[in-house]
Assembly symmetry: C2
Homo-oligomer: 153 residues x 2
């Protein structure tokens, strides 16, 4: 099991590296269904000038296209950084089964940092959550990104 | 001022009616900039099988396309029903200035019902919020939708 978590998170990290290469905040996500990636994406906010183009949002939409359904009940999400409010909401609305993430996001994270939104017992869908998967690699990529951005300024 | 709020919310209600006509949960939204609607949309989840196609999300993306920017600092949003978690997050991330909404959403609302997410002082952007604009019309449309749905079942 532990090996699989790392394998899928490795896929999400490859996505995050794609963002890094094009100067986007390096966050990547994959949606896994029946042991297969059915959605993969990386953050594309600046290039698209679309504030909703977070990795999680794009990966969810690709997965829904592939399943021809907005319900992802039997799917898991792997994302390199703790999701923000918008993405946590989308993860819950799309009925993702398990959410695995890498490093916390102290500024924007809605799972354990700024909020604990998925803990609300009144929600009509409950996502099981586990953080800390390959968190060092995820946070090192973020640190390298912001270091480079500061240097360029 | 009060008259303008009703005018723009009237636009959002027209959008909500479009959802009603195609059997989608009737919620509509507009984004207003310099006294002009630059984004208008209605809920399209079922027809698109895309869980992110809430009225607010689509209106924000249209507004960003029109302004060629993911930042909507000088824009206001009018939405007929209290936004959910995902949409509240998108409204904050896109830096909408004022959020006006109609009726509360006791099951999914993230502003005053299930959560009060926009009250968090640690957020890097603060949205001013006012609910209760043409709330009767917004909630009557929702009630009519669910009554019809139950009858059809």
């Amino acid at each position: 099991m532990q090996k699989d978590l790392k394998k899928w998170m490795g896929n999400a990290l490859l996505e995050a590296e794609k963002s890094f290469l094009i100067n986007e905040v390096p966050i990547g996500a994959v949606v896994v269904h029946n042991n297969q990636v059915i959605g993969r994406a990386h953050n594309l906010i600046e290039i698209s000038q679309n504030p909703t183009f977070h990795a999680e949002m794009l990966a969810i939409q690709e997965a829904c296209n592939n399943l021809h359904s907005w319900r992802l009940n039997d799917c898991d999400m792997y994302v390199t950084i703790e999701p923000c409010l918008m993405c946590a909401g989308a993860i819950c609305s799309s009925r993702i089964n398990h959410l695995y993430y890498g490093a916390p996001n102290r500024k924007f994270g809605a799972i354990e940092s700024l909020y604990h939104v998925l803990d609300n017992q009144q929600l009509n869908h409950h996502v099981s959550v586990k953080g800390g998967i390959l968190d060092d690699q995820a946070s090192n990529l973020m640190k390298a990104f912001f270091k480079r951005a500061r240097r360029r300024k």
